[in-house]
Subunit: 321 residues, 2 copies
Amino acid sequence: MRITALAGGVGGARFVRGLRHHLDATPGLGEAEVTVVANTGDDITLFGLRVSPDVDTLLYTLGGGVEEQQGWGRAEETHRVQAELAAYGALPQWFTLGDRDLGTHIIRSQWLGQGLTPSQVTARLAGRWGLPERRITLLPMTDDPVETHVVVADGEREAAIHFQEWWVRHGASLPAHRFVVAGLDRAAPAPGVLEAVRDADVVLLPPSNPVVSVGIVLGVPGVREALRETAAPVVGVSPLISGRPVRGHADACLRAIGVPESAAGVAGLYEDLLDAWLVDAADADTTLPRARVAVHDEPLLMSDVAAAGRIAAHALRLAEG
Amino acid sequence: MRITALAGGVGGARFVRGLRHHLDATPGLGEAEVTVVANTGDDITLFGLRVSPDVDTLLYTLGGGVEEQQGWGRAEETHRVQAELAAYGALPQWFTLGDRDLGTHIIRSQWLGQGLTPSQVTARLAGRWGLPERRITLLPMTDDPVETHVVVADGEREAAIHFQEWWVRHGASLPAHRFVVAGLDRAAPAPGVLEAVRDADVVLLPPSNPVVSVGIVLGVPGVREALRETAAPVVGVSPLISGRPVRGHADACLRAIGVPESAAGVAGLYEDLLDAWLVDAADADTTLPRARVAVHDEPLLMSDVAAAGRIAAHALRLAEG
């Protein structure tokens, strides 16, 4: 079985980890191959180093190195380099760069500087984290530079700030007028991305942010069409419960693009490609014109690996019938 | 009073720190301005980051952040980033990169990437370390790329390896056939370097490595001529005692260029510009055709700041008469 998931950071990573846990624990499914297509629209260059937050969160979570409570960054992290950068007056300081995490950014930047593509770099990083042995292939959505910016009010005028500044520095509290995704319309899917969608037996949309994570991946020219055209069933998991995101700021993102903050609202963004949609019992009244809706039999929360595994298992059952 | 010193790493840094200590402790000398012209020939790019070992040792030593026993690197250092780089299989691992130290390399690389010159970067770094307040101006010898390579035997043939690989990885134990200093003949003195020599009241040659530190600085076109022509007395301190370097591998470097491993041998390298030469009592029999020789009244060891200060004070007295 070949399973392909489009993923952002924490939610996507926890979902895929649960999926892999479920597959490995289920007779006959251990050989299934999982391909993750990661959002790279929130990549950012800090202190001259290229940071790819969603890819890193996927690497650390799937490779067993994540800070579990936080959901991103490295376990047992320290921040001695960043303290030095601050002492030198280097900005910005609102983005946390742990020492262990910096090892990833430094080696990524070196490899990119040597001419490797983001795909090649990601494959090397994934090797260190043991993803191939876990039958997980991690692909960036594109090798082209894409950066999500957020248009916000700046007095009487508008200003565009990097997504990370809006998300991390401002906690998505500045009302977003719209998102401008630099480079997205010219981006080519990274090698293997379209094939992973076309040749999949199941395509999953984890409970990642529908606007700035999954939405960006779907915005890479060709990807959305591949999801529409694939013979594989496309099953999604709602990132909202009773209109509120389990974590992150999906509500603020939906508001910015004028989409109802609800499980149905999110599903509407996937209307042209979705076959089934898994929601929390609180959203049991969700009806969709084109996709089946299923209600999970416990809270739709990835509170631990096993719970995430049960959500993934439910999504796979929906794909079957 | 304006004092200019040409310096390498540990020896140069400890000497200048002692000099500053002496000046500040001596009535009427506290206002003296010290300019240090630092060797940048042993700079190296590691993991895409630009490392300038002698400049960093000067910054940390003069700024109070050095690991005192070791003589280089940062106090209370950790190596968590380097452990990550190793986990990613990144090479080389023979060069120690501490976490705090990496803060310097990252910000230097960022600033260089933004188009700042090494001089401008060094001035910014020196600002953080309080050098201007201490009346110390730190200048790189040049803003042009210069890299010292060491030609060694490679089976029947010869191979050139980076100076740091020879010095750090091999502990200078591979016999050096010769040094090849890439870029040195085309390098221009950094802004202020020639002026610092020409306008000085005293020029000091600390007990730095005469071949790969002071020798490289003197090799920047125009610098040697400036030392010859300056009206200021030029006073040097021997880096050898009884033919052996106090630290480092000056003996191996002298051997490579066919110069006697002695206080007189080193002074011979400076013959055209030296007015006085300070040696240890063990080398009291040193005679030089053109320069006065003085014997220090205690071991010529910079065992602490005060001892280094007494050596510097002796050098200043030699400059006077």
